[in-house]
């Protein structure tokens, strides 16, 4: 037998064993659904603007997961879908903490301004008040 034939057979054999080992994963439809919902939720929370990197990563991985599903590469689809989910969740959490942080900063600024005003006000009549 010549070498090319051997090699071909070896490769086919390895591939079939590998395929046999990996072909036991069912299609991760549930996970892909969860990930799709997570991405939508994060989008609604304003994550694309407030956590762009994480959102891009989530969307990208979700797209690749869907492609893997189409080509029946279920292991790959599961992995990508799982990562898309945590990316989307992180993006949403970043967006929320960003908003809360802004609100806190605005409120603290408003309080500071109010305190200054009141300090000014109390100084004016203080000059006339008997001590």
């Amino acid at each position: 037998m010549d070498i090319s034939c051997k090699r071909r057979l070896a490769l086919i054999g390895a591939a079939s064993i590998l395929l046999a080992a990996c072909a036991s994963t069912p299609p991760p439809t549930a996970q892909v659904a969860v990930s799709t919902a997570a991405v939508a939720h994060a989008t609604a929370a304003g994550a694309p603007a407030l956590a762009p990197m994480e959102m891009r990563s989530a969307r990208d991985k979700l797209d690749r997961a869907n492609a893997a599903m189409a080509s029946k590469d279920y292991d790959r689809a599961l992995t990508l879908a799982q990562e898309a989910q945590v990316d989307a969740q992180l993006a949403e959490a970043k967006a929320e903490s960003n908003k809360a942080g802004k609100a806190a900063a605005e409120l603290q600024e408003a309080s500071r301004v109010l305190s200054e005003e009141m300090a000014r006000k109390s100084q004016a009549p203080g000059r006339q008040a008997p001590k």
């Binding site: 590998l18 945590v86 959490a93 809360a100 409120l107 109010l114």
Partner: protein, 317 residues
């Protein structure tokens, strides 16, 4: 063909499979994930603010560790490490969000407290103003009451002064009236002003010659005198008798004395106290006219009654 190539194919397959599992016991990404977890665990904001998320991250790390221990493919361990790392980052974000929410709550509370303090200060200031205005009002009221009392006092004093003035006026009037009455009476008695006091002279015609009994005219004079002395009880009278030079000194002395006594007796008889009446007999002494003419001698034959002043004093001759 199959039987001849089965052994090499199987050995190749095994080699491939074995090649998949020949991974080291360390995975850089998993180490990084563990590091991130430690950092998050040491951050109180994350540890206390996102305990659920930290638990999920710990579970993800355990899965990754188990995969590494099983010597799974590197790609699998990397994937699980990535999931764990993301979960740690998620916990950090949740911690940050909780802290911001707490800050918002605290800021609201602080703002409400500051507003309340400002309102309380305003209220206190208003109250102080009100109190000081009240004190001013009270002071003004006290002043006006004091002024009113002063005015009432002044009115009282004016009324009293007016009363006094009226009384003084009345007294003056009374005194005037009395003085006029006195003048009238003295005029009626023909009293003459001398440096010893008012003197009433009763002339010779009021006695008979060489006699000491008062005639009716003399009695009338005595009546006037008596009325005067009774009206002015503080006054006294000194009754002095005089004769002309005819006859002896002794006779004249006696006669003048008797005439003075007659006047005195008449006055006492009218009710004038005898202690107020003194007599003196001068006889021929102190003539008031020349004794060489009949008229002169007549004039010298007299009784003089010296009236004291208000306090009863009579200056001696």
């Amino acid at each position: 063909m199959k039987t001849r190539h089965l052994l090499p194919m199987t050995m190749l397959a095994l080699a491939v499979v074995a090649g998949c599992s020949s991974v080291p016991l360390n995975n850089a990404n998993l180490d990084a994930a563990h590091n991130d977890y430690r950092v998050a665990q040491n951050n109180p904001q994350t540890r206390d603010g996102a305990p659920v998320e930290m638990k999920q991250a710990a579970d993800a790390l355990a899965l990754a560790d188990a995969s590494l221990a099983r010597r799974d493919r590197m790609a699998e361990v990397d994937h699980l490490a990535y999931l764990a790392k993301s979960r740690v980052a998620l916990a950090q974000e949740v911690g940050r969000q909780k802290a911001a929410e707490v800050a918002v709550t605290e800021a609201n509370a602080a703002r409400d407290k500051a507003r309340l303090a400002a309102r309380t200060d305003e209220a206190d200031a208003a109250q102080r103003n009100a109190a000081s205005s009240q004190r001013q009002a009270d002071a003004s009221q006290a002043q006006s009451e004091a002024s009113q009392r002063q005015a009432a006092n002044a009115r009282q004093q004016t009324a009293a002064a007016q009363q006094q003035a009226a009384m003084s006026q009345q007294q003056t009037n009374d005194a005037n009236v009395r003085a006029m009455q006195l003048e009238e009476q003295l005029k009626e008695m023909n009293a003459k002003k001398t440096d010893r006091g008012m003197v009433v002279t009763m002339g010779d015609v009021l006695f008979d010659t060489n006699r000491a009994e008062l005639k009716s005219g003399g009695l009338r004079n005595v009546e006037k005198l008596g009325g005067f002395l009774k009206q002015y009880p503080q006054r006294k009278a000194l009754i002095e008798g005089f004769t002309d030079s005819t006859g002896s000194d002794g006779t004249n002395q006696a006669l003048s004395g008797r005439r003075a006594d007659a006047v005195r007796t008449a006055l006492v008889g009218m009710g004038v106290g005898s202690e107020r009446l003194a007599t003196h007999a001068y006889g021929e002494a102190y003539p008031i006219a020349g004794n060489d003419s009949a008229d002169g001698r007549q004039l010298n034959r007299r009784v003089e009654i010296v009236l004291s002043d208000d306090s009863g004093n009579i200056l001696p001759r």
